[in-house]
Symmetry: C2
Subunit: 203 residues, 2 copies
């Protein structure tokens, strides 16, 4: 099939199969967990042959990774609002992150991918490059604009600052210590911003 | 054997076997990873019979968990110094945490346990109750003493504060984004403490 010239119809069919496979992987990981997820079950749920999946992906982890990536792209990708009010913008985004992490649609595949990536360095690298770093870069861009506007200290290390925003949420989510509430997101934003405020010495 | 009265000699032999098993599990998870770790291999390395392990532990995850717990206890357990200098005390402890997480002796079993606990709620609970929460409680106690001494704002939420200290280190470690340096640990401590400083309104 890959040798045939692609017609608009076959391209459309391929895209339809691809989406069905990605959706099936997401649904199934939520139902049975990553350990019991199989290529067979994904194929059956998507209504395609096993070989169709093997032609496009080397492993169930790579299917699930692409499912998660499609999910992130559907939600508009990582862009932070810039209304000029840094505190409001960060609270909006971290509250949305808290809600997303609590939503089984994101929670289960991301947890499975994170667990899997602990003993799969290639998956860890891909997860970092394609999912995580673009999100972190969006935070960094928003903080840079605030620093340029004099809202945060010119000496602030933006990379450390953004990790201080997302790290505590991630910690609570990954380790399931306490619920990921909006109040928690707000409190993290407020403390970090007080910590980054331009001091009298920098005016 | 469990029906026999325990003599000092048999108790000593049991303890020796237990330590050999815990040490073997730690060594092996570093060599082969959690996925390929087996009770058979632990027994062979420890020089005991498989049945000795099954008598004491229900699964390889629970052996590894006890290995990790013994390792933490050997290092003195979670106590934070209180020299009166909060910033110095926190930097000391977070630098040590960064070093520990970068040390394969801690890194590999803790990574395996964290990954495993993503789809094993009982293990997640045990990891939280016996390893994580005691560490977090030690941070909270140190912050409370600082709040009582007026070094941080009386309005500071100590639980959120401690998660802001450990969360960023954990995030960088778990996701392997950037190296866990002492400079990073210091920067996190400095920003959090500026964020928690008592404001003029609270004096």
């Amino acid at each position: 099939m890959s040798e045939q010239p692609r017609t608009p119809d076959s391209a459309r069919r391929s895209e339809r199969s691809r989406r069905a496979i990605l959706d099936a992987a997401l649904e199934l990981v939520g139902e049975v967990g990553f350990g019991k997820l199989t290529i067979e079950a994904i194929a059956a749920r998507a209504g395609v042959g096993k070989q169709t999946i093997y032609r496009w992906w080397p492993s169930k982890a790579s299917v699930l990774f692409d499912s998660f990536l499609a999910l992130s792209e559907d939600s508009g990708g990582p862009v932070l609002p810039d209304t000029g009010d840094l505190e409001a913008d960060l609270k909006l985004v971290l509250r949305a992150t808290a809600d997303e992490l609590a939503d089984p649609k994101y929670d289960l595949p991301l947890r499975a991918l994170t667990a899997e990536s602990q003993h799969d360095p290639a998956l860890a690298r891909e997860l970092n490059e394609k999912v995580l770093e673009p999100q972190l870069a969006a935070f960094e861009a928003r903080l840079r604009s605030a620093r340029d506007a004099g809202r945060i200290s010119p000496r602030a290390d933006l990379r450390v600052a953004l990790e201080m925003l997302v790290g505590p949420l991630y910690h609570r989510w990954m380790l399931r210590t306490l619920p990921l509430t909006h109040a928690y997101a707000d409190s993290v934003v407020e403390t970090v911003l007080r910590g980054l405020a331009p001091g009298p010495e920098s005016v």
